[in-house]
Symmetry: C2
Subunit: 406 residues, 2 copies
């Protein structure tokens, strides 16, 4: 696997672009991604019962199993809690994009991110779509523009691209994402768009994404709130020219590994980015009963407010970590848990086989004074391993979220 420059236009056959259309007061707020060769589509959508209109639009296309040729995204307004007019607006965005690109509306996916409960400025967005559709290109710069246009409160754009050799052909995968929660969570749905030129059946593409998400986006937590607009979209247009992947073979595994790399990279960037963040924390669990328990345990620890505030205060308060493991719903023997903190400053053991170690508080404090901290948890239940990523809970989080709308 080689990491290369670029994002959603890195793979063959993808055009993209981003402009300012007026959905936000300033900065780019409209992006289009387009492939002339119809692409198989995989996706996951928010599990929130309150689903924004574009999520409902895309779910229908997903369930129909259509191939897809474009994605249109606006930032600045989530088109959520907007009732029937919201559905009409999502449809209008697809229709308008279809007209501008000469494709059908049911080949166009739609995404929106921004404030909830406010009608889309649909005229501005439609004018923007007309403008932008003439400007989309297969360049690194146009991928940058798109990645910037989907930002809300993200402090930087989030992109990555990799290549792998499959079946003697160079296959490229690229992606862009924007952040969730943390700063202005109603302004900040998590969106991720991945494009690739690999030739792969729809079934296998969906399997790859669905498996990959469990250990990437589903393992990050900023504040435990699941947005109304979250989605991850993966398009594969087959232009790399490899023999189509139809089964879980070595080629599938090469692709899956590259996809995992992209998703974990983008997921970690999402957590890492934000005014309120002073710490980036990885919770690594080994020896859980199984994979699912390891996920539950690591996710429970990184989601705990008490753990988060302790890290903000640089306090080696390991009791909160054991406590959060205890209510994760995973089964384990607390008397066989060992716990270590690791950073560039070193590693310290706080708990061994369930019992507190009389540790050097100064050394512990120096280890957790770093920005990047790893919490290593070792258990004796089985071979389950997982990692989860999150951040601390700071004054800034409370300040920004308390004052956001006012």
């Amino acid at each position: 696997m080689e990491i290369i420059k670029g994002g959603v236009t890195a793979a063959k056959g993808y055009l993209a672009g981003g402009i300012h259309c007026g959905a936000k007061r300033k900065n780019k707020d409209l992006a289009i991604v387009h492939t002339e060769t119809p692409a198989n589509m995989a996706a996951t959508f928010t599990t929130n019962v309150v689903k924004a209109a574009p999520v409902l639009w895309n779910k229908k296309i997903y369930e129909d199993g259509n191939k897809v040729k474009a994605i249109v995204v606006n930032s600045g307004n989530a088109n959520a809690c907007t009732g029937k007019i919201g559905m009409i607006h999502a449809n209008t965005m697809a229709t308008k994009t279809g007209q501008a690109l000469g494709i059908n509306e049911d080949e166009v996916l739609v995404a929106s991110t921004g404030v909830i409960g406010v009608k889309l400025p649909i005229d501005k967005i439609c004018n923007g779509i007309s403008d932008l559709s003439d400007k989309i290109k297969h360049t690194e710069e146009s991928a940058d523009d798109a990645a910037n246009a989907i930002r809300t409160t993200d402090t930087y754009s989030k992109q990555i691209a990799v290549t792998v050799m499959i079946d003697g052909k160079k296959v490229t995968i690229g992606g862009m994402a924007k952040g969730s929660g943390m700063i202005h969570p109603n302004m900040a749905t998590m969106l991720s768009f991945i494009t690739t030129d690999i030739k792969i059946s729809k079934t296998l593409l969906r399997k790859a994404l669905s498996d990959s998400i469990k250990d990437s986006y589903n393992m990050i937590s900023v504040d435990g709130d699941t947005s109304t607009n979250d989605m991850v979209i993966l398009l594969a247009n087959g232009e790399a020219g490899n023999e189509e992947i139809n089964e879980v073979n070595d080629n599938y595994k090469i692709f899956k590994e590259a996809l995992d790399h992209i998703n974990v990279y983008l997921a970690k960037l999402i957590v890492s980015d934000g005014e309120g963040v002073t710490k980036f924390i990885e919770v690594s669990v080994k020896g859980a009963r199984n994979k699912e328990d390891a996920r539950l345990l690591s996710k429970s620890v990184i989601t705990s407010n008490l753990v988060k505030t302790a890290f903000f205060g640089e306090d080696a308060n390991w009791g909160r970590i054991l406590c959060a493991m205890g209510y994760s719903s995973a089964e384990f023997d607390p008397n066989q848990v060992s716990l270590h903190y690791v950073s560039d400053k070193g590693k310290i053991t706080l708990v061994e086989n369930g019992l507190p170690i009389d540790f050097d508080e100064d050394y512990a404090a120096s280890i957790i004074s770093e920005r990047d901290i790893i919490v290593e948890i070792e258990m004796e239940e089985g071979n389950g391993e997982a990692k989860a990523w999150g951040c601390d809970l700071s004054y800034e989080y409370v300040k920004i979220n308390g004052e956001y709308r006012t």
Copy 2:
């Protein structure tokens, strides 16, 4: 139902007391509650897999179904994550209390609350038990002493007592509790002890408590973390002399209503008390599919960090409430939700049938500037109703929890 003064000594036959024994640096830290007439016992314990030693001790007595004659409680140290020595210490507290009161150790329940992962100062506690067992009395003052002795960071003691007439006899129920989460969560397990002189079978007593808890302690949320030491204990010694309640009849209902009043009162006091709290918030759901969905919905809203910070910032950010309802796992049609804020300043409608109302921001701001706020949610799914209680998420919460151990 008449509300009277007093706490755990209000009912016939209960003695109590509280002293300083040295588990805390200062203030009372050891309480005993004693009934010479053996009492039926009902209880609920933390669902956390990491259970403190006294929880394990009590669970055994609970499962054996023994009658109970005493409860001994220390504050200042949770006796949690203390391994085998912790179990020995819990046993020692029971044995010592049994010896001092002339009863068996398996008639003694034990509770501890305070720091995690530190060995109990067992000698100080044993000396304290000897001292205190001579001083316990059937007076209001001794109930006060006990209620004070179980405090950790609670800013005031929490007690209530009521009487009801059952079967021509006056039945009394009294209780005391201490707070959870919020300020120093590792220092602040939720404990609640209720004593009553009603004559009731063990089965019905346990049913009453188990049902009552669902709409009281289980409906409060401070920070979503479930402690290693939480427990609610209910003792009934039968001294009121009523005919024993053996079935769900009118007498049972009178008792259950009084018990609910006590539990809801104590649960709300727990949420209301704390340095970090600037708002007390009630979330009331009506018209959910069923009772369980109503509980899920109201609890999800009051547990959301984003909702909590919005209230701290006095921001009428209703989108976060709909979002939290959406991930509660209850099923509902977002297009049939109406949402109001209520306080002493008035009532304002923010959402009607899923659609945002163009509300007066100044009026909304004035309503949520009050300390006590009600969020009223109306749905059209069925007859399920529930209330949940919580508080805002403030700078103070982050400050205290970030700096606690240091």
